[in-house]
Amino acid sequence: MLEIKNLHASIDGKPILNGLNLHIQAGEVHAIMGPNGSGKSTLASIIAGNEAYQITEGDIVFMGSSLLDLQPHQRAAAGVFLAFQYPVEIPGVSMMNFMKTAINEIRAQKGLEPMEASDFLKLVREKQALVELDSKLANRSVNQGFSGGEKKRNEVFQMAMLDPKLAVLDETDSGLDIDALRIVAQGVNTLRNAHNAFLVITHYQRLLDYIVPDVVHVLANGKIIKSGNKDLALELEAKGYDWILETPQA
């Protein structure tokens, strides 16, 4: 589904990613861990198409064609979703209006008619229940006055609404208490199926107790330096990153 080949990227001339390779197949959950500043969030932004970064080499192939030719909204329509680490507030724009616009813009890009209002409301109710999001939040402005946990649950709610093929979760666990973490994980686990894939970026092993990954990668200095199964995450939790960083990679 996703194939990242020898990706080099920089911001303002400063290299962040240095030849990153990653292959994710449908039905898989991959976790990316790594020390601060290793390029984890950059990778998430680049997959979504943030134009602040320059791709200097390599390619990102999604569902058989390059993502690099697509603008961010086109990538979204193609099925790429990013759950933001810091969701922004958009004053005065209600969650309902925002979600309706998003769904219908994606449908428009696919040549489909706007969704019927009744179907939309049904979908909202169903997905709200999934992340235990207060129905009052849906009438508030996007992320405005939401607590940290509510913002993250709201990201998962949006993911559920848009039903992407590939969802990138950028440190969705940061700042969450254990109950919120459980709710977020439960949302992701419910959405998991044989046709979609998840890329979970996290700092802590804790999240992976709830969202069990098929593959765990360690990202350091802009490339994947080690990959393994879920036990790798436990090992990292116990030993930290230093032991990997010190080992030269083949």
């Binding site: 979204a76 922004v88 724009v93 209006n97 616009t101 998003a102 890009q109 949006q158």
Partner: protein
């Protein structure tokens, strides 16, 4: 001075070639030029009573001594008032047989604004069947209003049918000497709306010029007078979201509102006059004087405006808070793009005790445009316990536009409470990226953010108007972010 209309008509029609030009009462259009004769001609043409002619003449004589104001942050060449024509008979728009004959671009805009087919036909000047809905709608509308004793007609009609009401209130809120453009309007006003809501009546529907027969083409010097008697309520809608073109470049309207004891007037405007080309060429100059007088105790006047059109907008809907406990509100969205210039705001003049006012102004500038908020909050010595809250926000799209705020506050009573908040912001890249990531293209994302930014104001508009206004904002800002 002649004391009856016949005499007046006689005098005018027989004063041939005076001042070097003839007066032809059958003329459909006057030649350019503005003299006392022009004023007399207009008045005679409308068969006006002598008191109104005198009133016009007084305004005209005063106007001659005045100079065009240029204190606004607006740049335009001085207008040659002698080069304009001040009267043309209400012309029928060219009648087309079907919408197929209408400019497809215009139809596209109509559709995007969600304007009904029926209304589209009216706006575009397509002939409609005699038995078509709109006619019967209008009839029911008139009947309903008559039942409640509401008067809603053309001002020229009111002058004939309700002269006492007109005489008692015309020019009491905006005196003829108020300002250059108000004086000019008083001298040569073409027509406009007249509304009277009797005591204790809640007007059963939104009043809109759309429902006033012959309301189209009231001309460039429109004059509106609305009187809400004790304990009454009225919501009045002015303008139209559809793009309006006009052969007259100068528009100088006057609107006067009078709210008596506990009366509530809600006045909403959507202005979308032709803004001119990219450089502002050919756009409408809109110099408007709008003022309400909260004459009665605990009365309320609320102005809501969405200004997206015109090349130049000079407009300060204001409220005089005379009655004790009265309230004034001003909710405004002003959008300028390309070379548009807007200098708009409000004046809240607190005279009565415990009067209150709220000002929410949202300016949005794009392209090379300039957008200014200019406001005055005045608390007179008599206004014990007065309070005001003002919030003036500016949003900039791009780097070559300007936003300016000129708030003036004068407090002459120590018990007065005035709060003023102002912000200037740009749409953040991360907001656009967030929306992009959810599948929303940049242009639509900007429209969504702008609509959110204006929400407090748009929420004040009557439902249907608000829906159209939202779409209008979107269309107005198209291509301004790239």
């Amino acid at each position: 001075m002649p004391d009856n209309q016949d005499q007046l008509l006689h005098d005018i029609t027989n004063r041939e070639y005076e001042h070097g030009w003839s007066v032809d009462l059958d003329a459909e259009t006057l030649d350019p030029g503005l003299t006392e004769e022009t004023v007399r001609f207009i008045s005679a043409k409308k068969n006006e009573p002598v008191w109104l002619l005198d009133w016009r003449l007084k305004a005209f004589r005063h106007w001659q001594k005045m100079t065009e104001p240029h204190w606004g942050l607006l740049h335009y060449p001085s207008i040659n008032y002698q080069a304009l024509s001040y009267y043309s008979a209400p012309k029928k728009k060219p009648e087309l047989n079907s919408l197929d004959e209408v400019d497809p671009e215009l139809l596209k805009t109509f559709n995007r604004l969600g304007i009904s087919l029926q209304e589209q036909k009216m706006l575009a000047g397509v002939a409609v069947d005699a038995v078509i809905d709109s006619v019967s709608v209008k009839t029911t509308f008139k009947e309903k209003l008559a039942e409640k004793g509401v008067i809603f007609c053309a001002l020229s009609e009111a002058v004939q049918q309700y002269p006492d009401l007109v005489k008692a209130y015309l020019g009491t809120v905006v005196p003829i000497k108020d300002n250059f453009f108000a004086a000019l309007n008083s001298a040569v006003f073409s027509d406009g709306s007249f509304v009277y809501i009797p005591k204790g009546v809640r007007c059963p529907m939104e009043l809109s010029t759309y429902f006033r027969i012959n309301a189209m083409n009231t001309g460039q010097f429109e004059r509106t007078l609305i009187i809400a008697d004790d304990d009454s309520y009225v919501s009045y809608l002015e303008g139209c979201t559809a793009p309006m073109r006009d052969e007259n470049q100068l528009h100088a309207a006057v609107v006067e509102l009078v709210a008596l004891n506990r009366a509530h007037i809600k006045y909403s405007t959507v202005q979308n006059w032709y803004p001119g080309d990219k450089n502002g060429k050919g756009g409408i100059y809109n110099f408007v004087t709008k003022r309400g007088n909260c004459l009665g105790q605990h009365s309320l006047i609320s102005w809501t405006q969405v200004e997206t059109g015109s090349s130049i907008t000079w407009k300060y809907p204001s409220v005089l808070l005379k009655g004790d406990g009265s309230k004034g509100e001003f909710f405004s969205v002003a959008v300028t793009a390309n070379a548009q210039q807007a200098d708009t705001g409000t004046k809240m003049v607190h005279l009565g005790k415990n009067t209150g006012s709220t000002i929410i102004s949202k300016g949005i500038s794009a392209g090379n445009s300039n957008n200014s908020y200019r406001g005055l909050v005045k608390i007179a010595p008599s206004a014990t316990g007065a309070r005001n809250f003002s919030q003036c926000d500016s949003l900039l799209l791009g780097n070559s536009c300007g936003a300016h705020t000129f708030p003036n506050i004068e407090v002459d009573n120590a018990t007065g409470k005035v709060e003023h908040e102002a912000t200037t912001s740009k749409i953040a890249e991360d907001q656009i990226f967030y929306l992009n990531q959810r599948g929303i293209p940049t242009e639509k994302a900007v429209a969504l953010i702008v609509n959110g930014y204006c929400r407090e104001v748009l929420d004040q508009l009557p439902m249907e108007f608000a829906v159209e206004a939202r779409k209008l904002l979107e269309i107005s800002l198209e291509g301004s972010v790239g």
